[in-house]
């Protein structure tokens, strides 16, 4: 049934491209809007960046795919689902068949069983990176805080030399420890997840055996690469790895985007109703 959308979708895409003569592409950030932004406009495209400071990730980072790297699928999954889907175990495949995603465009809000969209569950790790909002790194001597604009989720990464817990409590965002591998690579290991979240926005499942390893590599002052490795012997036949790309946004500050009742009310708005609370 869903294959029927192929031709119309493409037709619409070209039709909209043609409509550019009526409405040109969106104006650059900070321009064309009456009044300007309370937080100021976004910075201009990054010029040649200064070198990265040593052992310093602090600042606000926004995912931006460089030309030729990754693709729009980074809005909802880790690797190109057509060319490089994850290797799932039998259990992982069975769980994935039960998933009814919204972000991939397959199900409406009324139909999806995405735990974030239907229950406002925390996104888990590393799914939190798919929310199209920035995150901020705050470093202190014994811990590094990863603060995500989405729902103001915060992860505490212990850097005091402690080991990962061997019998962790099973929580939404896991328990993390981190260390500097060298001046520009910060490695974070996280374990202890409950099984209520999805790995990504397409509905790939994980178990409580999930271990996530993130390597934050500051390329220069303005650019960050994040290597993510997911290992889960129950859900994944092989580790699932990817690299995401981020740009520094020194003029931004984190705002508010809440998975409150507003999220759930949106199901009515999407159906054409007007029943959401202001």
């Amino acid at each position: 049934m869903r294959t029927r959308v192929i031709a119309p979708t493409l037709a619409a895409a070209f039709a909209l491209a043609a409509s550019a003569t009526l409405l040109s592409q969106a104006a650059p950030a900070g321009q064309g809007a009456r009044g300007g932004g309370a937080r100021g406009g976004a910075p201009a495209a990054a010029a040649a960046s200064a070198p990265a400071p040593a052992k310093d990730l602090s600042g606000i980072w926004m995912m931006r795919n460089p030309p030729g790297k990754n693709g729009p699928w980074t809005n909802f999954t880790y690797t190109d689902p057509m060319k490089a889907p994850p290797a799932l175990t039998e259990w992982g495949q069975a769980q994935f068949k039960l998933a009814k995603d919204s972000n991939g465009g397959n199900y409406t809000l009324d139909e999806t069983n995405d735990p974030v969209l239907t229950k406002c569950y925390p996104p888990g790790v590393p799914r939190v990176y798919f929310h199209p909002y920035p995150f901020e790194v705050i470093q202190t001597p014994k811990q590094t805080l990863l603060v995500y604009e989405y729902d103001h989720w915060m992860r505490r990464v212990h850097t005091d030399g402690r080991a990962l817990p061997t019998d962790p409590d099973l929580i939404w965002m896991g328990t993390s420890v981190g260390r500097w591998v060298d001046d520009h690579n910060f490695q974070v290991e996280t374990v202890g997840f409950n099984e209520k979240t999805w790995l990504d926005r397409l509905g790939h499942a994980h178990s409580d055996q999930l271990k996530v390893t993130e390597n934050f590599r500051r390329i220069d002052r303005d650019h960050l690469e994040l290597d993510i490795k997911m290992e889960d012997p129950k859900a994944l036949a092989r580790p699932w790895v990817t690299t995401f790309y981020y740009e520094n946004r020194p003029q931004w500050e984190l705002g508010e985007i809440s998975c409150s009742g507003d999220y759930l009310d949106w199901t009515q708005v999407e159906k054409g109703g007007k029943e959401y609370k202001r």
Partner: protein
């Protein structure tokens, strides 16, 4: 397979349309991605609310009747960073929008492009 194909061509649409960064906390399955339409109307209300900014506007038909439309954009924090405020569009402003309508025929639009009295408005932050 059908799930993958739908997803693939959704991606192609995004690429061709040039929608850029993710627009929403959810997908667009409720909206007719096979057709876009352009509407011109008069703003009656701008709701700068979580999780999506909503523009309400009246569109006059050829027969003289008026239809009350709503169109949704990305999140208010993202539009703020692009330069919007809650006063960017005011009641009485003329606007033109391009977008995808709700499949069930309701006058609700997933806005792809928008222009107000002073010209094009950004739909996402850079």
């Amino acid at each position: 397979m059908t799930r993958k194909l739908s997803f693939l061509f959704g991606l192609i649409a995004v690429l061709v349309i040039g929608a850029g960064p993710a627009l929403a906390h959810h997908g667009g399955a409720a909206f007719d991605q096979s057709k876009t339409q352009t509407l011109t109307g008069t703003v009656t209300q701008l709701d700068f609310v979580n999780p999506h900014v909503v523009v309400w506007f009246d569109v006059k038909g050829a027969d003289g009747t008026t239809t009350k439309w709503s169109g949704w954009l990305t999140a208010p924090n993202k539009l703020q960073r692009a330069g919007w405020t809650k006063n960017t569009l005011k009641p009485g402003d003329m606007l033109t929008v391009v977008g995808n309508q709700q499949k069930n025929g309701s006058p609700v639009l997933q806005i792809r492009k928008i222009a107000g009295p002073e010209g094009d408005l950004p739909t996402f932050e850079q």
